[in-house]
Symmetry: C2
Subunit: 313 residues, 2 copies
């Protein structure tokens, strides 16, 4: 029996990763991608977003995607729910979990969804009630939790206020978003320690973008502070239209490799994960941000042949 | 007065970074690069290598580079010295420090320099004697200290054996090389702890390549284990001809940013460092691997305006 400590990789590629890709990722390929991701052993996948198709045309096929994927037992399929209208659409889908979001920075929240933090929070109870009635679990993002590209430092009080609402509404897992890659390890450890103390009933996840190469070091810092759920995107897909040059999420392949090399159990089959990466590379027609998709895992990895386990050049 | 803890960034771009670039980096631009690097506040620069020009044609201009750079007071200019012949050439130059190297993996050492570890070590005393007579300090690399792409795990005994020779010869600083990006944080912490106990008289440096995105997380782990000298290359230049798909060194810009964000004092002016990155990008004509050269430092950075402090797109 595997005695290693387990960590959960929460895959955000099909949603956060694809949402602002300029080129439409065809619906059939999205479905294929999600099926490859679930086949690799990932247990949590954010599959799409029920946002207005004009706001995010890339994900206009949310209903069809959710209708046609091969849902696997034991895998939680989450969808982003921006408002009541999105919630109604999500309720009509086969999603297992609804994901709420709000920025800790007032300016970023206004640019992102055109309203104040208070107005965003005011919309959550009704969504939570409907989700609960339908037996869906809830996840919540705290966007720009580690800093805002407009405001700089964000207020810890704002983060706490959001966490209080999430806790009250029964949000099972809150993900701290480093939306434009501004976080650093001591800051991650301080915020995680503070929130674990203040909100022991909410499971914390960490969501790092890799704009400054700090995705994995912050993942490691979050782990050291007690976080056991890490958001990542296949191939390092992702970005943010509201921050110049912002890079994608930390790549799933590199996150799985780091965790496994550290002796943690992700439950993910790396070679199967590479099949999902290969599909992304083929559809987008460009090299991926993930190092391990190019060079494979280190040679001594348990069960792996190492350097040969990578995508063909 | 700045009360922050100081760390030293050891710049390897002009040597490790450029050595296997396919396109010749013109001598004038190398000199300009080294001058920009020293002007940024970097105190240690590995400027070139006195290796045979057929082995590394890119650095065939070592003597001219060392003759023509503007040497700054307080900056240590190191050169790689592969053998006695290289040592003679280095002695005729204005280098302040000679850098020795040997792999902890027998296979890698044979592929790299065509001899056994023992034969490499046997050549060091004479070089050390000549360096000492000439008043040059010594640095030593332990290559593939965290794993070998051919052999997998390397023997701790081999690492110790190399360190013993370095200690006996008065090598001031030994740098642990993660040549193909195989290291992970717990491994880094174990090896550093072991070697600090065993060789307290040798200052340890950490030298990570970023093949799997782990350069900064291993830098952080090395810092936590007590290392205060970090090798990095401007723009993330570098690679290894003996390892398929191996990526460059961890980028200097991203390393400086991480350290400064963590509250450490690198002594480096980030905007001036970007001038060196801009030169590399211009000469090579391709995008750099460093995230901060594209998006700048986070907005709240002391003394910085953040997102605008990056190279123009």
């Amino acid at each position: 029996m595997d005695q290693r400590e387990q960590v959960t990789i929460y895959e955000v590629g099909p949603r956060d990763g694809l949402q602002f890709e300029s080129q439409f990722f065809p619906t059939d390929r999205k479905i294929e991608l999600i099926n490859l991701l679930s086949a690799s052993g990932l247990k949590k996948i954010e599959a799409t977003s029920f946002v207005h198709p004009k706001a995010v045309p890339q994900l206009r096929d949310a209903a069809e995607v959710m209708a046609r994927i091969d849902k696997q037992a034991g895998v939680t399929y989450s969808v982003l729910v921006p408002n009541l209208k999105g919630c109604q659409a999500a309720l009509a889908s086969r999603a297992d979990e609804f994901t709420l979001f709000v920025s800790a920075s007032p300016t970023h929240n206004r640019k992102n969804v055109g309203m104040s933090i208070a107005d965003s929070l005011a919309g959550f109870p009704e969504i939570a009630r409907l989700a609960s009635e339908a037996g869906k679990s809830l996840r919540g993002y705290v966007i720009t939790a580690f800093g805002c590209p407009y405001e700089g430092a964000v207020s810890l009080d704002n983060v706490r206020r959001i966490m209080e609402v999430y806790a009250r509404l029964g949000v099972r897992e809150a993900s701290l978003g480093d939306t434009t890659g501004m976080a650093n390890p001591p800051q991650v450890q301080r915020l995680v320690a503070e929130l674990r103390r203040g909100f022991p009933e909410v499971n914390l996840a960490a969501h790092f973008h890799d704009s400054r190469g700090t995705g994995l070091v912050n993942t490691y810092a979050a782990f050291a502070a007690g976080v056991r759920v890490f958001d990542s995107s296949i191939g390092g897909l992702g970005g943010c239209p509201f921050a110049k040059g912002a890079a994608g999420n930390v790549p799933t392949e590199d996150t799985v490799n780091l965790c496994e090399e550290m002796g943690l159990d992700t439950g993910v089959d790396f070679d199967k994960l590479l099949q999902a990466a290969a599909l992304v590379r083929e559809v987008l027609g460009r090299e991926l941000a993930s190092g391990t998709s190019r060079v494979g895992r280190p040679r001594w990895s348990p069960g792996g042949q190492g350097e040969s386990h990578c995508l063909p050049a």
